[in-house]
Symmetry: C2
Subunit: 438 residues, 2 copies
């Protein structure tokens, strides 16, 4: 991947190579950083510079742009790798799936690279082997968080179940953060008779940055994996202080910030525990499943023809007809407030109700959640809610929309019977429904 001929000519003349530290001057603006290779689809005449804060920027190169070399920069070197000892400490299984925590900056390919072997991830946090001994390090696939699908959830659930039924104390999974809470919910439903802790760990900053959070997250994840809490939890920073993490139940958690290290927040639940990197664990919520001797079953039956859509002012209810036509079996609607959809007193054609009724008549399951995220939907407070409820839509209590989506896929994987679907949707399988407090 080369820059434009003009740029390549100047780079050659100034003896600047990719990876070198350079200064770019453009009028009054001055940028310093490492020269990155051009990205595949980018503009050939835009220089890519990695700034000291870790971000890459593109600088349009024209006649007014000046470049000078100010240092050699970093060169792509051999990636360190940790030899697994597998003894001494309590042993766990370590599963690497991809994501920022498993990245390294490759100055040849540019930006952030994502195919570290588990041993390479472990090498960024060598102290980990003082907390646990890694019995097995596995890499079922290497995917960015955004590329995960139900197929990967199933694969992962099977591997985790196998590991939990072996002689390890628990499992750590490293994973991208974007859809970490989708995977945590999927594993929560798919891993039946859970016996040991499953720690899902990610990082919001890559290991090449001073603010890398994966170290503390991994150490706390290792302490969690040895704990008495037999739940699928996300273990990530509890605040922006780099000292401790929350263990948040896999069905009651959501990524609530694009970049902060404490992006994961419990929704409608307390975190189960606060965990310090030195091993101290403070239980914040006594309502959890204890470590036990069950044999875990990977119950991965899943109907992929489910969707998650949003109802909002001006939204087009015909989208529901489209999903029916496409053979979908279930839709989770993110309604407004207590679970409303537009009923459109003034213009009947805008109302969602006839479309929902028609879909339900054709055997589709419609489940209602709230785009408020916090709080609980309610089928009775207002007249429009009663109308929606009496159409046969299932009001999903205080479940998160994402969790209801995954649960509906899982439930429809087990039964197509309308009554049974409703019964299962409203049954608490993995802490996804909190008890009502009136």
């Amino acid at each position: 991947m080369e820059y434009s001929k003009e740029i390549e000519r100047i780079l050659k003349r100034k003896k600047i190579e990719v990876g070198n530290r350079i200064r770019v001057i453009r009028g009054k603006e001055v940028f310093e950083g490492l020269l990155m290779p051009r990205i595949e689809l980018g503009d050939k005449s835009t220089l890519i510079l990695k700034l000291d804060n870790g971000y890459n920027i593109g600088i349009k190169f024209d006649k007014k742009t000046k470049i000078e070399k100010i240092g050699r920069g970093k060169k792509p070197g051999k990636i360190p790798s940790l030899k697994l000892k597998g003894k001494r400490k309590e042993s766990i299984s370590f599963i690497a799936t991809g994501g920022t925590i498993g990245t390294h900056v490759d100055y040849l390919t540019g930006g952030v690279y994502m195919c570290r072997k588990p041993e390479e991830i472990l090498a960024t946090v060598p102290e980990l082997e003082e907390v646990v001994s890694i019995k097995r390090a596995l890499r079922p696939f290497t995917l960015a968080s955004e590329d995960m699908t139900p197929k990967e959830w199933k694969k992962l659930a099977k591997i985790v179940a196998r590991e939990l039924n072996s002689d390890v104390k628990g499992v750590i999974i490293t994973h991208g953060t974007d859809t970490l809470h989708f995977t945590s919910a999927a594993l929560s439903f798919m891993l039946r008779n859970l016996n040991k802790p499953v720690a899902l760990v990610g990082a919001q900053r890559s290991p090449d940055r001073g603010s890398f959070d994966g170290r503390i997250n991994l150490l706390c994840g290792a302490h969690f994996a040895k704990s008495q809490i037999a739940e699928v939890c996300i273990i990530m920073h509890s605040s922006i202080n780099d000292d401790c993490c929350f263990a948040i139940r896999g069905t009651k958690v959501r990524k609530m910030h694009t970049s902060r290290r404490d992006a994961f927040k419990p929704i409608n639940d307390l975190p189960l525990a606060k965990i310090w990197s030195d091993g101290k664990i403070e239980i914040l919520n006594e309502n959890f499943r204890e470590r036990n001797d069950s044999k875990v079953v990977a119950d991965t039956k899943f109907e992929e023809k489910v969707a998650l859509i949003k109802a909002y002012p001006g939204s087009n209810p015909e989208i529901i007809d489209w999903f029916v036509k496409k053979g979908y079996r279930g839709i989770v609607i993110e309604g407004t407030g207590l679970g409303h959809v537009p009923t459109s007193t003034l213009r009947k054609e805008d109302s969602w109700i006839p479309h929902i009724k028609k879909a339900i008549d054709k055997g589709m399951v419609i489940a209602i959640t709230s785009q408020c995220l916090y709080g609980r939907v309610h089928p009775y407070v207002y007249r429009n809610l009663r109308i929606l409820s009496s159409s046969g839509a299932i009001f999903c209590e205080d479940m998160l929309p994402e969790v209801a989506y995954i649960k509906l896929g899982w439930v429809l994987g087990h039964t197509k019977n309308k009554e049974k679907v409703k019964e299962m949707m409203l049954k608490n399988y993995a802490g996804e429904i909190s008890e009502r407090i009136i």
Copy 2:
């Protein structure tokens, strides 16, 4: 609307009428409350009872159910109405649009009723006339929050502009809470050259309940309407204490709880002010537009063919093709994390990228926001983001998905030119984009 013949017979025998206080005994369960009339679509043999906590419940009536009358309950009476004096204090215009704040419990029709005249709403908070004098009370339409559409936003903007250009100090609008933040964003874009405060006020609890929050919200809204802050703001409880409110910028606010009185939270911004019901105002964010002498313009051109959709694991990208086919002009995508959509390394058919490219080629505008809600999208940190960005999708900085949706409709109402749309989407019109802090 009558109950089943069996129930009606028993009610008649026991001289129980709708509105009476009754006790219902069903095995070990005992319920007390006011008997409500049967709802339109409900089961005829389910009794509707309004509990003392304000919620209605349905109790299946069968042979084991016993009913007894324990009091007369409340009877529908005349709704009090406040005579407008329109003098003494600084005057404002008061616009009632519907929602919980404008409800009364009608024991004849059951549950919550929503067609109070402005004078009736004002009668629930008579102290309001000690803060401001209501020059004009208007009711352009009476709609539940969930039934608002862009057509109502336009209508409302025109009325508000007219009022702001008259001799009042400011405007108060009462509105349902579910989509209050959609309306606040729409008014923020549509009211150009804003000169005076516009207070959007709602209530999470109806006036018949002890926990009614509309009183404090209205009083604080009135103080805001007299203030120096010429911004469209939502004025709602700042905490569950019933003492003061936040004034939150109309483009940086979201309903974040289904039922709490402090449901509205600022996202990626500080509240502009904290307002006490006695009139004290504490400025929390100096970055606001001051009261001025401009003439407000209602710039209501709006393209309704825009949509808001979510990208998530297992999502079907063909939904984009459907919107293209339906003649849509723009889609706002709630991506994951920094603005990702599935790129699907493993299964190409799951990738959103080709569908986004095709839509953009056909003249569709695709805008990217984050379902994290908090934080900012970024087109460069990861390779997949760069691919998405180079397809022509517009990354909407730290705009909320709902706000980007409304802004895109407003922008496309003004231009179809691709470059101009991008320029307008990334220009800060109403505080919707916060300055980047790196």
